[in-house]
Amino acid sequence: MANTQSMCTSFLGELLSATHNFSSANPAHTANTADTFKAALYFTTATLNASTTAYSTTGEVTNTSGTGYTAGGVTVTNGTNPASTNSSSTAGVGYWTPTASFQWTAMTVTTAFDTVLLYNSSQSNKAVSVHTFGAQTITAGTFTLTMPTNSTTAALIRLSTT
């Protein structure tokens, strides 16, 4: 037998579950209660990127008419806990994906939007990730954003070591 330097794959999944906390300034969490995550849409003119730290209404989609879009977006369905899988003796992936599509109905937004921000509404709206897609407009219609497969290679949120 020999030892191999590596980050433990279980740790990657546990990071997504807040099992480990290295900070003395952490927000309080209730055991076995997942935070509430939300998804908000942004116009193509917004500037969301890796520097985004929290949800903001700046650049967020607004209705051209009607009330199909509500500021703050929609609540994310979280039906499956984060998982982790070893890909080798030195590498692995922790991953998680929402378990339902994000959907807005009876919406009219005629200014192009191309981004969804995933954020944690239980933790001061702190940002999680920014996802872009081809620019869209919606007129008296439905916008549906379906999640990728919840796998080590395609999940919406993946933390991996190589």
Binding site: T132, F143, P148, R158, S160, T161, T162
Partner: protein
């Protein structure tokens, strides 16, 4: 008779011109449907399916 939700309320689909399109690339599969009353766009819906998060590999590099 199929009804379509439009900017003028529900309308019979037979009165409208329907256009559909698809975007299929590494990041997404998107389908969209438009209905026109003459030259006027009166309905547009879109369905975006994300295939994978392109930035995951960057996270991998950071943690590796």
């Amino acid at each position: 008779m199929a009804l379509v939700t439009t900017t003028h309320g529900d309308m019979d689909e037979s009165l409208l011109v329907k256009k559909e399109g698809t975007i299929d690339n590494e990041v997404e599969l998107t389908t969209w449907t438009e209905y026109y009353l003459g030259e006027e766009l009166v309905h547009r819906s879109a369905h975006v399916t994300l295939k994978k998060s392109p930035f995951a590999d960057l996270i991998a590099a950071t943690l590796a």
